[in-house]
């Protein structure tokens, strides 16, 4: 056995291969970072919509499609209202119920809107009484007033035909019988202005069905 002291091994020199590959890694990771951040933002938006958006808001598919025709007994005297009699007119269909608080909120506006267009022979307004008792509906109308026709939706067939899932909902049908506008919730504020100043006047001015 040799007792001679040996000098320690020199420290290993760093391999020249490491430095450039490290830099390359960092560059590639940056590309991934962008993708990662973009997808995280996407996920966040998805969760935002899912958690804080209105889950009861159903995008309508009926705009631009022919308005389902309907007929039914009126609230006031039970005589038959038939939408097909009003072909070629601009029809505003308003779904409401006596138990619906938001319907009371818009009722004043409905009356004002009716008064604004009632002299135009091409304008028709009809209310559809939704999931209601006849006495309650009559009571409501006698209190709040109703100068236009009101139809009872006995089995919910009219509402479901119009894809209604709550009240109030309002549809505007043009002279060709196509649904042009849908309003979910009460017609108040800017919604009221949009209807009375833009949508209804424009549709009233447009020409009626030519061939039919």
């Amino acid at each position: 056995m040799s007792a001679a002291p040996t000098p320690p091994l020199p420290p290993p020199t760093p391999s020249p291969m490491d430095a450039p590959s490290g830099g390359e890694d960092r560059f590639k990771l940056r590309g991934w970072h962008v993708a990662l951040v973009a997808s995280l933002i996407g996920l966040f938006l998805l969760f935002y919509q899912g958690l804080w958006g209105d889950p009861s808001a159903i995008p309508t598919v009926l705009i631009g499609t022919p308005a389902p025709t309907f007929s039914g007994p009126t609230v006031v005297d039970g005589s038959t209202f038939d939408l097909s009699q009003y072909r070629g007119k601009v029809v505003m269909v308003n779904f409401w119920a006596s138990w619906c608080q938001e319907c009371r909120l818009e009722h004043e506006n409905l009356l004002a809107l009716y008064n604004q267009f009632r002299t135009n022979p091409d304008f028709v307004m009809v209310g559809i009484n939704y999931q209601d008792k006849l006495e309650d509906a009559r009571q409501y109308l006698s209190v709040y007033g109703s100068p236009f026709q009101q139809v009872r939706d006995l089995k919910g067939t009219i509402s479901i035909d119009y894809g209604v899932y709550g009240v109030p909902e309002t549809f505007i049908i043009d002279k060709q019988g196509v649904i042009r506008h849908k309003e979910v919730g009460p017609i108040v504020g800017p919604d009221y202005n949009l209807l009375t100043e833009r949508i209804i006047p424009t549709l009233l001015q447009s020409p009626g069905p030519s061939a039919s």
Partner: protein
């Protein structure tokens, strides 16, 4: 638990009272069988449609008036001879994709259906790349040339080895 209990009771009842319908008039029984078949069909369709006002429930389970009216419509349309697909298409045309418990794979819906698998694929690719980079760097380390052995060290190793052999 309650469901099982209910089924046991129902089984017992049908077991002990199963003989009774024999005495019912044949026409009545036939009508009953038809009604039950119709109910089954209504249930099958109603289970695929979402209650528009209660979101998480289908219209078979929902207690809402709207759901009841929808079930009645399904029933009437079945009686009128429509197929389940025609009835579903009707509700789809009124309420859009929203009404389906299982929305169609179409348009933007593709993102929701394919998204998890795409993310899984991206994750897998990233994992493979990282792992291969790790293993590549691990493999390259021992391949680095060691510094040459100094002369005293070599002598010492030789000495040690010789001492060990003896």
């Amino acid at each position: 638990m309650t469901r099982t209990a209910f089924m046991v009771v129902a089984l017992l009842l049908t077991g002990s009272w199963g003989a009774l319908p024999v005495f019912a008039p044949v026409e009545a029984r036939a009508a009953q069988v038809e009604e039950t078949a119709l109910d089954d069909q209504v249930r099958e369709i109603a289970k695929t449609l979402r209650c528009a006002i209660c979101q998480t429930e289908n219209i078979w389970e929902s207690q809402s008036v709207l759901a009841a009216q929808m079930r009645a419509i399904i029933r009437e349309r079945l009686k009128a001879g429509e197929t389940p697909d025609q009835i579903k298409a009707y509700f789809l045309s009124r309420y859009g994709d929203y009404i389906l418990m299982k929305p169609r794979v179409r348009g933007w819906n593709w993102v929701i259906w394919a998204g998890p698998f795409v993310l899984l694929l991206i994750g897998g690719i990233m994992l493979t790349r990282t792992l291969s980079r790790w293993s590549a760097s691990a493999a390259s380390t021992p391949a680095d040339p060691l510094p040459p052995l100094s002369e005293p060290s070599r002598k010492r190793i030789d000495n040690e080895l010789r001492a060990y052999d003896q």
